[in-house]
Symmetry: C2
Subunit: 403 residues, 2 copies
């Protein structure tokens, strides 16, 4: 079986100066009850990523970000690389050893600006008493650090417990707030005949697996067989989750009292901020033919045939707003500059990005004061059912920008 | 999305001497309406494998078996390699150009012995009239060859139609004879908490995708929620397909009139010969403590924890037959010699092998006069429900050995 996809993993970055013991700590954490999947050596500028499955933390990726706090000056290019590495972090673990924390202070400010929680660690407590550093961290950063030694399993367990408190893996459910234990969920999964036989797309597999893990029965149907299937049930299902592309076909068939949502809206809640993305979709009502829209696709592969981002959404936009509407496309993780020139950003479903990465993009859009939505929300709006769908509550909304 | 797994593909080998035009023909076939997924260059002894998705043929792998018919002597080692390459073929396409067909005649005999159908092709019909060769093939091999030119699309279409007649992709359904269009199917899919989050095992995904392709609703449940789910249906489902490992839990809950089978039994029918494998399982009744059992696992990866082939089945066998039972294990595609020393072979579910490969293994067992079964059939027998399960009819049984 393949490993958990990167987009579902919590990413934990380990920051600290060379010789602070980052790699030793990462290896020690990896050694306890965890299965090392496969280390992926980075390039000189990329951090080393170690995907792991912990019983208590779930699927995580540990990032060993070498030398980010070393004494080389944080030039513009270096700082940009640092920010890029930070973008995908759900949690930063900062190892503090030296007494001069000028660089560390800069980094803490940067993390705050990026809304990335930071957990302080005092390593090598077997070599020296951690008490003075713990006190100094309390004074300078107003935080309670964790003293650890890689030779003391109890200290490592305490660190993992603190990490767990930050990540709250039990709250990272795709279907949280949408389906509960006694429900029956219908999944509407249209299959593209040209898609490889014997496979299902990732969001469908991820949602189904999660429902099974939660003990919730999932009735998988195509749009064509939905009516017949609903008739086979004694009671209407509590929830129908559909592929966004067949909203129009599915919406009229949904019994009253049954929640309706889509895979992409659930993933918007799970990985981003559904309320903000829904607000972004409603901006579509205000766009004019002279407006500029940016469509951002995470995957760099070329689409084979009719593609949701390059064909379907542009056609719906031009039909509604006017054929002269400017629509630009970007692929991968880079955004064009200046972002401020756009009136709306429509981001893909982000099955390849993790939550931290999506939140970072929302934040960049906020800073540029450009509304942002995603494929699923945009389609829900354009097909007139945004107000009928359930936005879920997979994770808490993104906090407002720090002052 | 990932490509169709190799185990679901029909493998078509192109045989012919160097310069017969094998590669040109493979490329020409690949060029028409097909999407080249990714060529996988072979080593010097392995054929080049080109996975493709054809609208009419489904997912196939084209094997360019360079030089198998060249004038180098077919020594023992070379012949063994040839046989290995042939093992996985569902169809051999043999290009005939020269007039001396001594090697080709040997190859035709070998294909017959291995039960591999052979389609003769006369290439380069644009350069010379194919009529004399077509007549000679009729006389020597009692077969109607297909004349082709890579520059003549009609001839390539005719070749594909002939290939389709051999492969019969419309008959290659996992759930054929088990579920039909108006059915509702329940899939019992226990999830191993230690398995990577966000993934499902391949046979579950393949079966679900096929049911959706066929417009058959699939209700996915865990063993714990099966009762509750059955109560939510107005009528009992037509079919319950369960993971073999929870046969005991599921069997008592199956309503009368509902067919019961397992993923591994369906795959035994789809990829092998369910009747033969069921006969093999019944041999378990005759084994004694002095018997020798071979357990053959296709995957070469080491199992993480309790493994069906290394722990579960051996424990059930020893409990039933005696603790002194000899159980040997092999991994990968090699079998030990002499195979004749064993009283029973238990083969894994073979999700990594294609149908031709599984049939080849059944045939090798037949030649050694050793009964063969697989994990699913063995578990069904050992848990006492082999006579209650439906064996499916995914594909026709393996024909008896040619005289």
């Amino acid at each position: 079986m393949e490993k958990t996809p990167s987009g579902l993993r919590a990413h934990i970055g380990f920051l600290g100066r060379t010789n602070a013991g980052k790699s030793a700590l990462v290896n020690a954490l990896a050694g306890i009850e965890a299965s090392l999947v496969s280390p992926q050596p980075g390039t000189t500028t990329d951090p080393v990523r170690i995907p792991m499955e912990f019983p208590d933390l779930g699927a995580v990726t540990l990032l060993d970000t070498a030398g980010l706090l070393d004494d080389t000056p944080l030039g513009t290019l270096r700082e940009e690389r640092t920010r890029q590495a930070l973008r995908e972090l759900d949690l930063a673990v900062m190892l503090l050893t030296s007494a001069d924390w000028a660089k560390e202070g800069e980094m803490v400010q940067l993390l705050q600006k990026e809304n990335i929680p930071c957990l302080f660690v005092v390593p090598q407590m077997d070599l020296r008493s951690p008490a003075p550093l713990l006190a100094k961290i309390r004074a300078e950063f107003h935080a309670e650090a964790v003293p650890v030694s890689i030779y003391d399993p109890a200290s490592l367990a305490a660190l993992r417990e603190r990490i767990r408190e930050f990540l709250r893996p039990e709250e990272r459910w795709i279907t949280k707030g949408i389906a509960s234990a006694d429900d029956l969920v219908v999944l509407v999964m249209p299959q593209d005949a040209s898609a490889p036989k014997g496979r299902l797309i990732l969001p469908q597999v991820q949602t189904l697996r999660e429902l099974l893990d939660r003990g919730i029965p999932a009735l998988c149907v195509t749009p064509q067989t939905l009516i017949k299937t609903l008739e086979a049930l004694r009671e209407p299902p509590e929830v129908i989750i559909t592929d966004s592309q067949c909203f129009n076909q599915v919406a009229p068939l949904v019994p009253s009292g049954t929640k309706l949502t889509s895979f992409s809206i659930l993933f918007a809640s799970y990985k981003g901020d559904a309320q903000e993305l829904a607000r972004g979709a409603r901006i579509l009502a205000t766009l004019k033919e002279s407006s500029r829209v940016l469509i951002a696709e995470a995957c760099t592969h070329a689409p084979k045939e009719e593609d949701i981002g390059t064909v379907k959404i542009p056609a719906l936009l031009r039909q509604r707003i006017g054929s002269g509407l400017t629509i630009d496309h970007v692929r991968g993780s880079q955004w064009p500059h200046p972002l401020e020139d756009y009136d709306l950003i429509i981001q893909c479903g982000s099955c390849m990005f993790n939550r931290a990465h999506v939140l970072h993009r929302i934040q960049e859009a906020r800073r540029a004061k450009v509304p942002i939505t995603n494929y699923g929300m945009a389609l829900a709006y354009l097909t007139g059912i945004l107000d009928r769908v359930d936005l879920g509550e997979g994770t808490v909304p993104l906090p407002d920008e720090k002052a």
